[in-house]
Amino acid sequence: MNSSTVTQVNESSLPTVIVNLYQRFGEASFVRQHTAEGMPTLWVGREKIMGVLKYLRDEHRPRYEMLLDVTAVDERTRIHREGQPAADFTVVYHPTSFSGNCDIRLKVALQMDDLHMPTAIGLWPSANWQEREIWDLFGIVFNGHPNLTRILCPPTWKGHPLRKDHPARATEMEPFTMSDEIQDREQEALRFNPEEWGLKRRSETSEFMFLNFGPNHPAAHGVIRFALQLDGEYVLDVVPDVGYHHRGAEKMAERQTWHTFIPYTDRIDYLGGVMNNLPYVLAVEKMAGIKVPQRVETIRVMLAEFFRICSHLLFFGTWAVDLGQLSPLFYAFVDREKAFNIIESICGARMHPGWFRIGGVAQDLPNGWDKLIREFVDYFPKRLAEYETLVMANSVIKERARGVGSMNTQDAFDWAMTGPALRATGLEWDYRKNRPYSGYENFEFEVPIAVNGDCYDRAAVRVEEMRQSCRIIKQCLNNMPSGPYKADHPLTTPPVKEKTKQDIETLINHFLSVSWGPVMDPTEVTQTIEATKGMNMYYLINDGGIGSYRTRIRTPSFIHIQAIPFLSRGLMLADFTTVVATTDFVMADVDR
């Protein structure tokens, strides 16, 4: 097996996209920055950024079809910014190309006295929420944005939490109290006002009803609120309201060390367990230059795929409940328990093991692990076949889900939909296949796709993905490499214990390594994976400290929720729950 290699920055030859941009806009328009993962990174002036993005989307070959991420950085307390333009804040755009299988990172420097940017909604509608998020968390204004309101913090919040001068801890702030006045004020602030969203209260023939679907609703799949504009039973428009699950994970990353942030990643997509550890530890390993042993890669893949099965099973069961079938949920939970038993016997915990480490995993596989997994891989495909008969072949389910909430591939690009939702539109794109990481290139598996991009297809793709995950697990089982479970590298955290007991020098190194964790040269790095729900990306900026200066967690769920209004306009209210279920979001993955 080959290991994934860290891409080396080649100084002599420029990436094609940079050559093209230099030709089109002039080399003087850009400042190039080198990063650890070698992704083309350019600083652009604010007045030119929209032109550059438009060129990349429409004229450049290959086209950059999707705006994967937009985020910002508070640069005011940086120490190492050698060679970068002066900036108090930076806005970072991350367009991605599916046809060319490449990415580019564009940065715009802003000064404190002029925190304004043009909006990118005209190019990609998916930029809407990310720009609102940046305004909420950093206080950068996007000119031309239709609803630049708070999205993650409560509407009454003062300040912008991801600024470096905003307190991080709840215990640094005034203690939380809830008097009647505060409760009334906060409740009043949450009242939905249709006019703010440009929604009419009546048509010529009927008066519309506004329905709060959430923030606590049995079919809402978490603490989210949809304000529905209804004409009788028909959904005219939807305004999703998120932020009820904002746990400040990105702020948390700024005060944890590289090592101690790992458990927080588990809780981002809380159905994804250790799969969330994967992009984070891979990103840190890129920075540290650690190449992990093949056994580590294979163990990681195996557990990540177990969590994909667990997550998809939960989706499958709850989706069937939303369509009126109760029993599939109980079957799905039986199988989840079987998978959790295995996960627990390997990692010691069920949902949030936090078991991957920088440069390895926490411990070796226990004796007898293979027997448990062999039982599972023999048992599970038969169960999946039963589920397909029970749910997917059920005529009521077909009737309820086919042709409901359809989107095509271009819509998916516009709304930055990734994962099963993108594949359901017919695009055969899987990060594990197209840009293998952690040794996925060594496994045989299919990338399931569908044609219509409707609710039924999104579910069908996930069912087939479970089968493929089971196939990958079987290959891990049959070909588990022997060898160490940690890389022999000085930055592996925690370091191998046996090496501490030689002399005082090794003991001191061990002590530093355990208390601080790795200390690496300032740089930045991204790592994307095919997570349970779509593309999950960690963008880490290292300023030379013992932890991250800025951690950006690009989660699929946050972006996907934005597309729900697009998918549900004109549907019946009962179909709306199908759209919500097949979007398959987890609120912790939305609000982080």
């Binding site: 923030p215 746990r247 912790a588």
Partner: protein, 213 residues
């Protein structure tokens, strides 16, 4: 009020030391007071509110579903509206933006109502000492049972439920046609399990090795 379960096939064999008639009466007639009967019924029919906040709710849902089956304890009637529920499980992190909503939902429940606080976040904020998280739901709600864990296993939630049920079973409600506050709403505190089980726990000398499945 004492009672026991017997297997159907045993129903015609006489208990040791009893004649057949007395035994038949014992198995078919319950002598109790109305107050005791009421307490017993309430203990075994706690209706939970279908409410969840984050990760812990997935483990709570696991406790409801097939393997763990909360119906064994008479608490499976999950209500989608707080007005029909006796008990709310605060399963997950209590967020600043969500707190007024939680408060309102709690207020909408009918008395007597109970709160099980599930998981570290709801207990104390847990690992999230961060600007957007309330450091424990007891900052604004009265909590009857704290269940520890991140997230707690489904079995832990079921144990929490049992502790709450024991407490409910000990409480006597007024039995009267007069509908008013009759001053009998004192509830007993659930004993702290950490103190109760301490001796037993520190006596453990052999722990299971993580090297075996």
């Amino acid at each position: 009020m004492s009672w026991e379960l017997v297997k159907p096939e045993d129903s015609f064999s006489t208990s040791p030391g009893m004649n057949q008639f007395d035994d038949y009466i014992r198995r078919n007639v319950v002598m109790t007071t109305l107050e005791d009967m009421l307490a017993w019924s309430r203990k075994h029919s706690v209706w939970p509110f279908n409410f969840g906040l984050s990760c812990c709710y997935v483990e709570a849902a696991t406790a409801i579903s097939s393997r763990h089956d909360i119906a064994r304890f008479g608490a499976e009637v999950f209500r989608a509206t707080p007005r029909q529920a006796d008990m709310i499980i605060i399963a997950g992190t209590v967020f600043r933006k969500m707190a007024p909503v939680v408060q309102r939902l709690y207020e909408q429940m009918m008395d007597p109502k109970y709160v099980i606080c599930m998981g570290s976040c709801a207990n104390s904020g847990g690992m999230y000492d961060i600007y957007s998280v309330v450091q424990g739901v007891d900052k604004f709600l009265p909590v009857d049972v704290y269940v520890s864990g991140c997230p707690p296993r489904p079995e832990a939630l079921l144990q929490g439920l049992n502790l709450l049920q024991d407490q409910i079973g000990k409480t006597r409600r007024p039995v009267s046609w007069v509908i008013n506050d009759q001053g009998v709403y004192e509830r007993e505190k659930v004993p702290v399990q950490r103190l109760k089980r301490r001796a037993e726990r520190i006596a453990a000398t052999e722990l299971r090795s993580p090297d075996e499945v």
